[in-house]
Symmetry: none
Subunit: 225 residues, 2 copies
């Protein structure tokens, strides 16, 4: 699980962002001032730092510099509105991304994901192919024998997950998490319905399925070819 160091002196913002980030599956460590931030950084070795520009004591820029001198941990800066703060103009942030206040928590989560993906050397969306079943992740299209199969967003994500690791069985819980995000709360058997619909669209009878195989007692898996 990836660890994020969240540095802000406003408890309200820390609470809000923490909630969203935890929901998105990250582990959160917090600090309310610059010195604590650097201490936590050394102790915890976070995968990413979210840093408010204005902090008591050592401010965000200084913390940013200290971190940069040590390693390449990605940094996202939270800044006041650009137009109103001349300090920002011509400033070397040294950050990987920044978000201006007021921001939406969703935006911060989105940028966090993007920055971490970049940092990991994101896996490119290679076209997947199993038998006559082709999936293009960029276009979000699935073709069977060359014919376009219209899928809903959920069905597509489900199939995509299965096709990325053919032969590996996924539990319903894993599939639910993948499809609904980490903050799932629901009935495992929802997946069954999606699988049913997928099989129908793919003309894949459950009796002798060509593509989506049932793993009794576990969940489902993709045929290997």
């Amino acid at each position: 699980m990836e660890k994020i160091l969240l540095v802000d002196d406003e408890p309200k913002i820390v609470r809000l962002l923490s909630a969203y980030l935890v929901r998105a599956g990250y582990q959160i460590v917090t600090a309310a001032d610059g010195l604590t931030a650097i201490d936590r950084f050394h102790r915890e070795h976070p995968n990413l730092v979210i840093l408010d520009l204005m902090l008591p004591g050592l401010d965000g820029l200084e913390v940013c510099q200290v971190i940069r001198e040590e390693n390449d941990t990605p940094i996202i800066m939270l800044t006041a509105r650009v137009e109103e703060d001349d300090r920002i103009l011509g400033l070397e942030l040294g950050a990987d991304d920044y978000v201006t206040k007021p921001f939406s928590p969703r935006e911060v989560v989105a940028r966090t994901k993007a920055v971490l993906r970049r940092a990991h050397g994101e896996a490119p969306d290679v076209p997947l192919e199993i038998g006559q079943l082709h999936l293009d992740a960029v276009r979000r299209e699935v073709r069977l024998d060359g014919r376009l199969i219209p899928l809903t967003a959920t069905e597509f994500d489900l199939l995509h997950t299965l096709m990325r690791q053919p032969g590996r069985p996924f539990t319903r819980l894993q599939l639910l998490e993948r499809v609904q995000g980490y903050a799932y709360e629901g009935y495992e058997r929802t997946i069954d319905t999606h699988i049913k619909n997928l099989r129908q669209k793919l003309g894949d009878p459950h009796r002798q399925p060509r593509y989506i195989l049932t793993v009794r007692g576990v969940g489902y898996k993709m045929a290997e070819r």
Copy 2:
């Protein structure tokens, strides 16, 4: 993140352009006179220089020459004079583009993007064509069945983004980023309204759209032909 050196002696213009460029995702370094500009240039190694023609001390042309003698960093000139001479002179001295005052910040951002794209050897602004819909990125014109369709700047950028990769769906967040700049802060569904207006202008009913297709659960995409 790309770094831009912005050289102008009018603080108002520096503030205005900085705000727009930061919003567009660039990192800004500023200078108010020619000598400082050259100093900053050496220190900061910007990816692009935006240069006012008239500067105290060393003027823009001279700064341009100095930079050109050293390397190929792209230069955009800002000029208040309208005479042809200056334009030609500036271009002869090695400026990659020029903008005459009074200019709109949007235009400067647009040219900045274009010049940097060119500098990276990326695809030039080729005319795009889907069915009877033609888009000319250089002239920022869109024609349907040969008739000019007047679009706002945002509508144009949105359509341009979609048309550059027909068949690929874009999320509202991706479109917002593209249209409002990197540091967007806003409501995703603003995009819906722009799409609605675009469809209206293109005579593209949402029920059986010819050009802009809705991808439910994802966003929008351009038809492929």
